[in-house]
Symmetry: C2
Subunit: 463 residues, 2 copies
């Protein structure tokens, strides 16, 4: 039973079709659309095609599966609300890899409801949230025969790999994509029952570092002490990136970081951050990081440099007395306004060159780049989003930043010159990017009503 603070005009439709909608969503989630692994290229196509059909059946027009040099972009629109604002709905149908698979309690691609939570890869990030927007369109068109606003859909398949080809697509189609606002549901509530409008995101960049010390692995008895070990060189280099408090040691890394304003500091402090709850949620014994900043400041408004993976030598059962010839690491940085990903990669390269240990060759591979994003809190479309949330949730909307990256947000800002509104319905405990990803169906139900209310709110705002 959903508690309604304000009657929603589509409530009956959503209630009546709930089971059918969930079945369709499970089908959508069953397609393993892992964008980062080349063996899933066909699944990506199948998923784009399934998505196109969902949009068509909802009543959207001009459905197009746009081929790119990477995975397809799915578009569609409904543009019959003359004189009304146009909302560009953005989301993504690609998902993260699922390893380690053995930690999943149910098949990541066979969605299962347990305790009113839907378990599957992509349930929360972001297929489940994209699906809600489609169902809002369907509900308006089936119940009212029209939408209160004009809408355009732009759903990509490369968000989890940095939206490699989307900026080019947006650039090439900027007239077709022109809108008054971009609406995205790919962020989380501030807490269970506490909605949040997100006004800033971190950017992303990264490099892979591969170290080679010899032409092949060598016996540690014969050569040990006489030559460099690729892992020794790697760990020496990797350890140079942070001090013991986690402060990044790359020259110039923090130079362009926009200082956190006093208003922001006050707003974050007012959120009554629950350190014990955060520790429990993360499964850690202590919080950790730069000593001069609070946890929320560190995770929202400060940049990071994380080693996401490290590999080299023997990792099987028992021991192997080998000097490994090669070792490597994958690193990504979360960036904040006004850091530039291209400049950061240059700084990383300079750092690696400066700290390069003796006796090795190093190869650097660059990963995707996404700019950080920030938009003013006072924008009417943002304020309206807060009001729509409050029709369904018994709590004040929090206006927050998010620590994650949606690389394309900065591109929308830059190319379309359009405000971006992030109204998310996930929860940070929902294990997106980890085993046992799930989506609370209570937020799915509320989200359908919040989004439909928002469409009506936007229709009433002067263009």
């Amino acid at each position: 039973m959903i508690h309604l603070k304000k009657e929603n005009v589509l409530d009956g439709y959503f209630t009546k079709h709930r089971e059918q909608h969930l079945e369709e969503l499970k089908q959508f989630l069953s397609i393993p659309s892992i964008s980062s692994l080349s063996e899933h290229k066909k699944d990506m196509k199948d998923c784009a095609s399934y998505l196109g059909n969902l949009m068509k059946e909802a009543g959207l027009e001009h459905i197009t599966i746009n081929e790119t040099a990477g995975h397809p972009v799915v578009t569609g629109d409904w543009l019959h609300a003359e004189g009304k604002p146009t909302i560009l709905v953005y989301g993504h149908y690609d998902v993260q890899p699922v390893d380690p698979l053995e930690l999943w309690e149910s098949d990541p691609f066979k969605a299962e409801v347990r305790e009113n939570k839907l378990y599957a890869r992509g349930s929360s990030d972001d297929k489940g949230q994209v699906f809600m927007h489609i169902k809002v369109i369907e509900a308006f068109l089936k119940e009212k025969g029209e939408l209160p606003v004009n809408v355009k859909f732009l759903i990509e398949g490369e968000e989890e790999i940095g939206s490699v080809h989307l900026p080019e697509f947006v650039e090439s189609n900027k007239e077709n994509l022109a809108a008054d606002l971009v609406l995205i549901s790919d962020t989380a509530l501030y807490a269970p029952g506490r909605p949040a409008v997100c006004y800033a995101l971190r950017g992303l960049t990264g490099v892979q570092i591969d170290v080679r010390s010899a032409s092949g692995d060598l016996h540690s008895g014969i050569y040990g002490g006489g030559i460099q070990n690729s892992i020794h060189a790697l760990v020496e280099l990797l350890a140079s990136f942070h001090d013991k408090h986690g402060t990044i040691q790359v020259d110039g890394f923090y130079d362009k970081v926009r200082p956190i304003t006093d208003d922001e500091k006050a707003a974050y402090a007012a959120l009554d951050f629950d350190a014990e709850g955060a520790k429990k949620e993360a499964g850690v014994k202590e919080l950790f990081g730069e000593t001069d900043f609070s946890y929320l400041e560190r995770t929202w408004a400060r940049p990071t440099l994380e080693i996401n993976g490290v590999y080299g030598g023997f990792s099987g059962e028992g021991i192997k007395t080998v000097i490994p010839a090669t070792a490597g690491a994958k690193i990504t940085c979360r960036l904040v306004p006004d850091q530039d990903p291209y400049e950061i990669v240059k700084q990383l390269r300079a750092h690696i060159e400066k700290h390069k240990p003796a006796g090795v060759d190093i190869t650097i591979t660059e990963f995707d780049k996404g700019k950080p994003f920030i938009t003013p809190l006072e924008h009417p479309y943002i304020q309206a989003a807060g009001r729509s949330y409050e029709t369904q949730y018994d709590a004040k909307t929090a206006y927050i930043r998010a620590g994650g990256s949606i690389p394309i947000v900065a591109a929308f800002d830059e190319i379309l010159n359009t405000p971006v509104i992030m109204m998310g319905f996930g929860l940070s405990t929902e294990n997106f990017h980890a085993p046992n990803e799930h989506f609370h169906l209570d937020n799915f139900d509320k989200g359908l009503r919040v989004v439909s209310d928002y469409f009506e709110e936007i229709a009433n705002i002067e263009k």
Copy 2:
């Protein structure tokens, strides 16, 4: 064609049966006796059984497959040379793992001769060399009806995992194993064509370090900057083990190291070490290590701490923006006289405790321990070994140390109180412990004749 400096009494026998011997050796090498991997437990038993048959057919008596808590020990003897010395021949039938398998040019367990080299896992280390001793026995008994000395064989299946159960076996059987000398062929020539008697070995110990920062992997956007990353903690800890020249930073690590004597320094200097050749052999651009010691000193008479493997987080294709909850490393130390492996492990534990980064739990798993070994150069059995080599090789025998470990050697010294003679026929370029292990058949042929000559030399030395 083998160049004989001194006529060998068994030469005709070895020549006549060469093809048959090689076929038997290939069969022996076809059994994947990898002691460190539990899935090869049955192969270990099969290999012990095959070895026992080889020994029986050679004419050895009292063949026994001795069960242990680990892999079996194979024993046998021939004790009819009254009044003559007794040689205890030691070797091992277990081999190293074969990964990365894709780097092998032929199946590691399907021996293949290319350019008079026998390619297979174990061909050089140590099945091929054990096999030679068996064939020397066979040749004496078939051609002469007797041996010039008494012999006992002790061939174990756990050398590559630190001879875990052999010291206990030797202790329990010390009366049966009593001998005048222990003869081992598990070391390498000094250079192609240049034989070497080895008078000292390094010991071995090691630990696995497992670091945990959280109960599960976390999204780097949500948590990045707020909590510790297990890989960050691991690389900080691992980097603390060495300075940038490779000198080990563990407190007390070098305290018990026996200084290299002036005579030894002179002996090593006289070996005309070829730095360019060593670089080429190892496949490295530069040699590396403690600045106050020569390459030979570093690899023979100085201890090491090598990281043999490192693992944690995502290492697949592309990127995964995860904060890994767990990361780990495998470390082994090569030890020199008079370091004690148990004391070294205590020092490693103290170092890890002292340098433990914030925000993580660390689990330490201890690996096998083998003491370093040294024996006087002037012992008559060692001098005789040098002479026997020179019957087949056109070069002065070098008296050297070896950087590798044969953990049981120290145990023989300690438990049996018997001099140990290491006459190896491998070459350091033969990729033991790496892909494409091979054995030069020229040294196989010479080795048969050297060992048979040595048996006669020993028979003539007063007990």
